[in-house]
């Protein structure tokens, strides 16, 4: 999933300052899973902003709404019925959600309430970890299911570097060395010989060769 965290409240207050009628728009997918922009967080943010406006003696109306997927057109379109009541949308979607809403309602200012962070997993309650860079050409087979492009601080495909110590990364003793994990996992499956091979320079054109990427599948189009 895509993970995100809420921006500092002062930054949000500054961005919404010019507006009087705001739709706080949550998303029920990834950002709900990471407790940043779901229904609950949207309600909490709206009430915090209402309270702050009251203390400042400002006139501010905030309504809340959470759509199932803010990055999917079909889920955004029904907002057409209510959007005219507001002079701005405060989106608690990820960067994709914010831009999808802006694309569909080009005349309404849209303000991001979250900082979108990474593709990751929920490892435990309140603990999310980055484990995919979306490189467009998955290498997980070679490395025992552990992505060195994401989890090695230097993105080494032929690691580990000289900074690996007691299974930890030189960057931070809290960060596990991805290469230590790769070696342990491959050794479990008797596949350590894979590490004798020199892995060739990554084809980054799969990620950024022609600017922003699209997937177009005619079999899925109607």
């Amino acid at each position: 999933m895509i993970t995100a965290e809420q921006k500092p409240i002062d930054e949000i207050r500054e961005m919404i300052a010019p507006y009087k009628r705001i739709l706080a728009l949550g998303c029920g997918s990834c950002v709900a899973e990471c407790a940043a922009g779901g229904e609950k967080e949207t309600a909490m943010l709206a009430s915090t902003l209402r309270m702050a406006a009251k203390i400042d003696g400002r006139d501010l109306l905030i309504h809340e709404k959470t759509v199932d997927r803010q990055c999917v057109k079909d889920f955004i379109l029904p907002l057409d019925d209510i959007i005219d009541q507001y002079d701005a949308v405060l989106s608690l979607g990820c960067g994709a959600g914010v831009q999808a809403v802006a694309e569909i309602f080009p005349d309404v200012p849209i303000i991001p309430a979250l900082n979108t962070e990474f593709i990751g997993e929920t490892r435990d309650q309140g603990y999310w970890v980055e484990n995919c860079v979306g490189c467009g050409d998955c290498v997980l087979y070679d490395f025992g299911g552990i992505c060195p492009l994401t989890r090695c601080s230097k993105r080494l495909l032929n690691g580990p570097c000289g900074g690996s110590r007691d299974g930890k990364c030189e960057v931070d003793p809290e960060v596990p060395c991805a290469w230590q994990l790769i070696i342990e996992r491959l050794s479990k499956f008797n596949a350590l010989d894979r590490l004798e091979k020199i892995y060739q320079p990554k084809d980054w054109s799969m990620k950024q060769g022609l600017g922003p990427r699209n997937i177009i599948r005619e079999d899925q189009q109607r």
């Binding site: 601080s153 230097k154 993105r155 080494l156 495909l157 032929n158 690691g159 580990p160 570097c161 000289g162 900074g163 690996s164 110590r165 007691d166 299974g167 030189e170 960057v171 931070d172 060395c177 290469w179 230590q180 070696i183 590490l195 004798e196 020199i198 892995y199 060739q200 320079p201 990554k202 980054w204």
Partner: protein
């Protein structure tokens, strides 16, 4: 031709030393270090924004060393340049008369004075070695497009015998050799037992026959430096006995003890089969290099013929 290569080809023990460029635009800083190292080492490594701290460029500082008549080793890290910039610098280096290159990953950007920068890491150090070898031996850039003239470079890589996991270290060394490394400079050796263990593993794989290994040493300036390096500098392993020996030396004589330890280390390293020379990294203490190589019986250095 590389002076370093000539000496290693002849089978003599080689000596390289390190010169860190200044945090400024003053060429005199380089010329001053050049004079301290002249005649004391066969080639001079110039570090590339070490510890991810902005300094005069390694390529430019190597150019200054060439103008002073020395044989520089251009250190290049993959942290700051993508494959376009790396290959372009390799061509520029050879055009300027630089004949040695050392290919490294580089300290992570979070360690330095630009922690907000984007780390590049387009190639890793092994891939970079392979790219340089392809340019030199195949006469093409990566991808096969021909060069009008190949760079002439003696290709180096680094190895850290003290990093984990130890069992994988010789695998990585073998990959660096297969990628094209002609010589290896190691992380500074303090823990000789661990270093010997690593050398044994390298020898068992036949690697010491395939590459010139120069053992790295760094004289300790003080007990504080020793403790700092052990704790803070990535990849450094200093045994407690050495720290204790430094601590037990009065402050005003600690530099002397540091040099003693360094000379003793070189003497012991000389006994290890497969060591082809020494890389002396006297950090901001280039004055010490002459005394160290002298007392270690490595002087005079063979004369430098320009060609």
């Amino acid at each position: 031709m590389s002076q370093l290569k000539k000496i290693l080809d002849k089978g003599d023990l080689a000596v390289t030393a390190e010169c860190g460029p200044p945090k400024g635009a003053d060429p005199e800083a380089i010329f001053k270090k050049a004079e301290l190292l002249r005649g004391k080492a066969d080639a001079i490594n110039v570090t590339d924004n070490q510890t991810a701290t902005v300094r005069m460029s390694s390529l430019a500082a190597c150019g200054l060393l060439i103008s002073a008549g020395l044989d520089p080793v251009l250190q290049v890290v993959v942290r700051d340049r993508n494959r376009i910039a790396l290959q372009s610098d390799i061509l520029g280096a050879s055009a300027m008369g630089i004949r040695n290159v050392l290919c490294l990953s580089g300290d992570h950007q979070s360690f330095g004075n630009q922690p907000q920068t984007m780390g590049v890491f387009d190639l890793d150090s092994i891939q970079f070695i392979q790219v340089v070898k392809t340019m030199r031996d195949e006469g093409t850039i990566w991808g096969g497009e021909p060069l009008t003239k190949s760079p002439e470079l003696f290709i180096g890589a680094v190895a850290n015998p003290f990093a984990d996991p130890l069992g994988f270290r010789p695998v990585r060394l073998a990959k660096k050799i297969r990628a094209g490394a002609d010589f290896i400079q190691t992380q500074c050796v303090y823990n000789l037992d661990r270093f010997e263990e690593w050398m044994n593993m390298a020898r068992e794989r036949g690697l010491t026959e395939q590459v010139n290994i120069l053992a790295g040493v760094t004289p300790l300036k003080s007990s504080n430096m020793a403790k700092y390096m052990k704790k803070r500098v990535s990849g450094i392993d200093i045994p407690d006995e050495l720290i204790k020996r430094m601590e037990e030396t009065p402050k005003n004589r600690q530099r002397e003890t540091g040099i003693n330890i360094c000379v003793e280390t070189i003497q012991r390293l000389k006994e290890i089969q497969g060591i082809r020379g020494f890389h002396i990294m006297a950090i901001e203490w280039e004055e010490a290099v002459g005394e160290i190589v002298g007392r270690a019986g490595l002087l005079p250095r063979p004369s430098f013929d320009q060609d």
